[in-house]
């Protein structure tokens, strides 16, 4: 399920879609000072989810324009993007990563494996990210398309905003207007 023809290009934007994108960007701008950092965590995926995540940075989707960035350091992250069925050997590392992220934080489980649809729990695999981490957003798909991921990120931003009512890290709140 790679991005197909229904993906909006830059020159033919769907009206509501660009509307949603602008809204998302404004939220991030206001709530997170124009930058929301994502830490990806591979808990045993087959790497196809990762390919789709990587496509998010491609010009078609370009999530950076919305204010999302990837970071390797959990200390800098706001959002934990988890793929894979959570193999048991990785449980401790996943827990540590979650603890290392400063609050407010949100966890997004991505792909059929993470949702518990592929591997049943056995001595090697938890089979479900929710067994180890408090998941806020579930994004189905095998793999989920970039657009689905974007939607999931939008939902996650909403959850983060709920967790941090009125919390902003910048003084001026009119930055969103400048970029639009």
């Amino acid at each position: 399920m790679s991005p197909s023809q229904d993906t909006p290009g830059q020159d033919t934007p769907g009206q509501d879609l660009s509307q949603a994108a602008r809204q998302l960007r404004d939220t991030i701008a206001v709530q997170f000072g124009r930058s929301l950092h994502i830490r990806t965590l591979d808990t045993g995926s087959c790497a196809v989810c990762e390919q789709e995540i990587r496509l998010l940075s491609a010009p078609h989707y370009d999530l950076h324009r919305l204010g999302f960035f990837f970071t390797p350091a959990p200390r800098h992250a706001d959002l934990l993007l988890v793929t894979g069925p959570m193999v048991r050997a990785f449980g401790e590392a996943a827990r540590k990563t979650y603890k290392a992220i400063p609050g407010p934080k949100v966890v997004m489980a991505t792909g059929a494996c993470a949702l518990g649809g592929v591997y049943p729990a056995d001595p090697f695999v938890h089979g479900n990210v929710g067994e180890v981490l408090p998941v806020d957003v579930w994004v189905p798909g095998c793999p989920p398309s970039p657009l689905a991921l974007l939607q999931g990120l939008g939902v996650a931003v909403g959850r983060l905003a709920e967790k941090t009512p009125g919390l902003t890290f910048i003084a001026g709140q009119d930055i969103a207007g400048g970029a639009g």
């Binding site: 959990p74 590392a93 540590k96 990563t97 603890k99 290392a100 400063p102």
Partner: protein, 675 residues
């Protein structure tokens, strides 16, 4: 009463200590009494040495009148300020070891002999330094070598001990012969045996003979001082000697070689022209660089320290060489300054190297190993040792605010003024030596970050290291030396004033007022070059450390904060194996200087035997034979052995053959009688 009389007190105390040790060393009270006497002698020597710096040269005395039966010549004694520096160091080292030895050694027969030999070695060292005549000097020198040989042989039945001791003895004897030759040349040409008379009549010796005597002395004393390529005994003998024995060897015996070089270079045979200075300086610079490069690939703490001693001897000899050059180019102030800087480094190195060897002994005592890669985490188990070792490490790595920094700074300031010689070629030579010392200094920091970090920091790599305990360890000796290191930094102006008196007797330059115009500020020989105050620097650095601490204590963050574990990359648990090992830490240097080390590397994969299998253990072995051993000593040893093999058929052990020899000899005698 003069400093020499105090020297007699020290000598008497050491003789008493040697006798006590020999007779009563098998019991605990005897051991304690011996060490107390030894320490008393050390305190006396320190006082005498210090006093001689203040009071100046004592007159030459010949106790027992003319020819003494012991030495076969007149016993001539004299305490000079130049030797006084070394005597004071001898005293400090002896006191530190006396505090250390009673807890380090078990009472017993071996200890009894060891302590007797050690105290005699102290006496012999004092005699070398207080010798006013050539015969006294040589007899004392040989006694010192032999007693030190006994020190190294303390655990003669263990592996490699006999080997290390033999290296020491063999090279000492070769060096001794060269020193004898040097003295004989001077004595023959000046018709004098007392050092004073030799120095006074040095002008009678022609330049060529003087140069020959100096070069022989440089090589002869170089064996003791550990100049490359004559240094081979240090890394062989140091690890096998008891900790206080190796501390004594490195802290003092090596310094006597340096004293010998200084004695010939500045007092007995000052050579005209700049080339002997260039030779000395070049030898020193090469020694320093090679010493520290080999130190970097040692895992054995004591071998590592032994190589570091070679490096420091190189630094001191470089300073002396440059002083000789400046002397030849009519820059007496700079010559005296560099001699002074070298002497300062002698005192510094004597303190911190003794400290580090004593601490290495504690580590070996409590963990049973000297291998850095089997230690680790000792800072939690030996906290006081860690603090003391850290002070010594800062000193030897020449990091401010400790004492090594002061003397190395002085040496560099002297070398940087090489342009004052007026000769471009010489100036370039001096700058190259300074650059080599710069490289050495950088590598020394690297080496001692490794030398402290691998054993003391991190996690214990073995169960023995984890079980290390500090209780009952002889901390007092090294602690005294740590205090001495700090005193040598804060008290740098006092030390410089005292040392400038020693250099004044040798070079005739009044360096004191030039060096210390404003009490606490040091000016290296020429006022328009640079200035520095070790005392203020120490105070400043301590204050600089205190400021952030005060800010932290006064202004703690008032906002709510959360404490979470350090982000470790999600690793489940750390294993000691994950740490840097001593060998991986030095890998960049080992790879860069591969051409020098020329390691014999053998790699064996399990899959080599089984073409189908692609995994399995890999056995990697890298062994380094030092180049001098490989290309200089081994061929000589092989030639000697070959010669011995060629002669061996004479001694077949066959009685008939021996009867034939007897018959042939008798026949020959008859024939000769008949003719």
């Amino acid at each position: 009463m003069n400093p020499l009389d105090i020297g007699y007190i020290a000598a008497a105390a050491w003789i008493a200590a040697a006798l006590t040790g020999l007779l009563a060393g098998r019991t605990k009270p005897g051991l304690l009494a011996c060490c107390t006497l030894s320490g008393t002698g050390g305190a006396a020597a320190a006082a005498g040495g210090g006093w001689s710096l203040i009071s100046g040269e004592t007159p030459l005395v010949t106790p027992g009148g003319g020819a003494s039966t012991i030495t076969g010549g007149p016993l001539q004694l004299q305490m000079t300020p130049l030797a006084g520096v070394f005597v004071a160091l001898l005293g400090v080292v002896a006191v530190a070891i006396a505090l250390y030895a009673p807890r380090y050694h078990e009472p017993g027969r071996g200890t009894a002999v060891y302590l007797a030999a050690y105290n005699l070695a102290l006496l012999a060292c004092l005699a070398v330094l207080a010798a006013g005549g050539m015969v006294t000097f040589l007899v004392a020198w040989e006694t010192m070598s032999l007693t030190c040989y006994l020190l190294i042989l303390r655990r003669a039945r263990r592996d490699d001990v006999a080997r290390g001791a033999f290296w020491f003895l063999a090279l000492s004897e070769i060096g001794f012969l060269l020193v004898v030759a040097a003295f004989v040349i001077l004595a023959g040409k000046t018709h004098a045996t007392s050092l004073d008379a030799m120095a006074a009549r040095a002008h009678l010796v022609t330049g060529g003979w003087r140069a020959a005597a100096y070069l022989l002395a440089l090589a002869g004393f170089g064996f003791k001082a550990g100049l490359v390529p004559l240094h081979v005994w240090l890394p062989e003998a140091h690890p096998v000697a008891p900790a206080d024995g190796s501390a004594f060897l490195s802290g003092l015996v090596v310094k006597l070689g340096i004293y010998g070089i200084a004695l010939f270079a500045f007092r007995l045979a000052p050579v005209g022209g700049s080339w002997p200075g260039l030779v000395t300086m070049g030898a020193g610079a090469v020694t320093a660089a090679i010493g520290i490069l080999y130190a970097l690939r040692e895992r054995d703490i004591k071998r590592f320290l032994a190589y570091s001693t070679i490096e420091n001897a190189g630094i001191i000899v470089t300073a002396f060489g440059a002083a000789m050059i400046f002397h030849a180019y009519r820059q007496p102030a700079l010559a005296a300054f560099l001699l002074l800087a070298g002497l300062y480094h002698v005192a510094n190195h004597g303190c911190y190297k003794t400290l580090l060897f004593l601490e290495a002994g504690i580590v070996e005592h409590t963990t049973g190993t000297r291998d850095m890669d089997r230690l680790g985490g000792l800072v939690h188990r030996l906290p006081r040792s860690a603090v003391i070792t850290f002070a010594g490490t800062l000193g030897i790595a020449a990091l401010p605010p400790l004492n090594g920094f002061v003397s190395e700074w002085l040496i560099f300031q002297g070398l940087f003024q090489g342009f004052r010689t007026g000769s471009h070629l010489i100036a370039i030579g001096i700058v190259v030596a300074a650059a080599t010392l710069g490289l050495t200094g950088g590598l020394a920091i690297y080496a001692f970050v490794r030398g402290f970090g691998i054993p003391y920091l991190g996690m214990p790599r073995t169960r023995q290291a984890a079980a290390a305990r500090e209780t009952g360890q002889p901390i007092a000796g090294p602690a005294l030396l740590a205090v001495a290191c700090v005193a040598l930094t804060v008290g740098a102006p006092v030390m410089l004033a005292a040392l400038s008196r020693a250099t004044r007797t040798v070079t005739g330059v009044r360096l004191g007022p030039l060096l210390l115009p404003g009490k606490l500020t040091v000016i290296p020989a020429h006022a328009n070059f640079s200035a520095f105050s070790p005392t203020y620097l120490t105070v400043f650095l301590i204050a600089a450390c205190a400021v952030p601490l005060l800010i932290f204590l006064a202004g703690r963050p008032r906002a709510a904060s959360v404490s979470v574990p350090v982000w470790d990359g999600g690793i489940v648990s750390f294993k000691p194996r994950m740490q840097y090992s001593a060998m991986t830490f030095s890998a960049p240097i080992r790879v860069t200087f591969d051409a020098l080390y020329r390691p014999d590397v053998s790699v064996h994969r399990a899959s080599d035997d089984d073409p189908a299998g692609r995994s399995g253990p890999v056995h990697y072995e890298s062994q380094v034979t030092p180049i001098f051993e490989r290309y200089l000593y081994r061929p000589v040893i092989r030639a000697v052995e070959g010669l011995a093999d060629a002669i061996r058929p004479l001694q077949s052990g066959d009685v008939n053959l021996y009867l034939l020899y007897v018959f042939a000899m008798i026949l020959l005698a008859y024939l000769l009688g008949a003719v």
